[in-house]
């Protein structure tokens, strides 16, 4: 499941970077959600201390994928089995959450408005 989840998370990162997905704050702290335009799939991402969570839900809000990745598990998997999938998933969820946070708080849009305001003031 980890490999598949990693694929989904990477796809979400790509789509979010291209501005094709909009994210909004979930209920819990540092939790973000997005719904695909047709409403058939929803994704939830959360960073809670050293635990990173990723969920995929169908149109009836039933969970299709639920990943809870604690940092300790990534270290253990790498040391015991030489498997870094868990570590890559942990990193990817962190990156996605950061991007989602930026999209949700519309950081880029606000920065653009600030830059424009600066230009307008300078032009006076």
């Amino acid at each position: 499941m980890n490999e598949q989840s990693l694929g989904f998370v990477n796809q979400l990162i790509e789509k979010t970077e291209k501005g094709k997905l909009s994210w909004s704050a979930g209920f819990e702290d540092d939790q973000y959600k997005t719904l695909l335009p047709d409403g058939n799939l929803a994704f939830v991402v959360q960073v809670k201390g050293d635990v990173r969570k990723f969920k995929m839900l169908d149109d009836h809000q039933d969970i299709i994928i639920e990943e809870t990745v604690p940092l300790s598990e990534t270290v253990a998997n790498k040391i015991n089995y030489g498997d870094d999938t868990c570590e890559r998933l942990y990193e990817a969820i962190g990156n996605l959450q950061e991007l989602a946070c930026r999209r949700a708080s519309q950081v880029n849009e606000k920065m653009a408005k600030l830059a424009k305001a600066g230009e307008m003031l300078a032009a006076i």
């Binding site: 979930g26 209920f27 959600k33 335009p37 409403g39």
Partner: protein, 166 residues
């Protein structure tokens, strides 16, 4: 033989036969037209009943959402948790049943359904564990759900009153 030799009665029979045939055809067409109209009227009545049921269901959801928001405002987290679970399942059912009437609102309602799912999961923790920002967001979420359901209910009610589908 006499009739065949005499053209007048034969014409008279011919004309009456033709007349009866035309009248029969007219009655058949009229019956078909009536049946089509009756079928259409039955379909419209069915649509009207379904739309009315949708309005009743969304009115009930709206009341539940108002109650939920009230519980959250009053800090009654145990009641809020129970109401959230009820509202979540009832909303899922209403969306499935009345999807055809929801139009552009469907995605918005699905988004609210997702919010309710996240709130249900979040509230399963002890309420005293909720951070200040989570409490604020909970109030915002329940308020937004209430607004969306009130709007949807208003739309359905006005379409029922306008007699859409009739």
């Amino acid at each position: 033989m006499i009739l065949l030799d005499n053209p007048i009665p034969r014409d008279w029979f011919d004309w009456s036969n033709a007349g009866v045939g035309i009248v029969g055809l007219a009655f058949t067409l009229w019956a078909v037209w009536q049946a089509t109209g009756a079928k259409e009227a039955a379909r419209r009545a069915e649509q009207s009943v379904i739309r009315h049921n949708a309005e009743v269901d969304f009115s009930s959801l709206m009341r539940m959402a108002k109650e939920l928001h009230g519980y959250v405002e009053g800090g009654m987290m145990h009641e809020a948790r129970l109401r959230t679970t009820d509202l979540r399942s009832e909303l899922a059912l209403a969306i499935r049943l009345h999807e055809v009437f929801l139009g552009e609102q469907l995605n918005l309602l699905k988004e609210k359904q997702l919010d309710l799912t996240l709130v249900t999961d979040g509230l399963n923790r002890e309420s005293k564990d909720l951070s200040k920002s989570e409490r604020v967001r909970l109030l915002e979420i329940t308020g937004a759900i209430m607004d969306v359901l009130v709007g949807q209910c208003g739309k359905l009610r006005s379409s029922v009153e306008r007699g859409e589908g009739q």
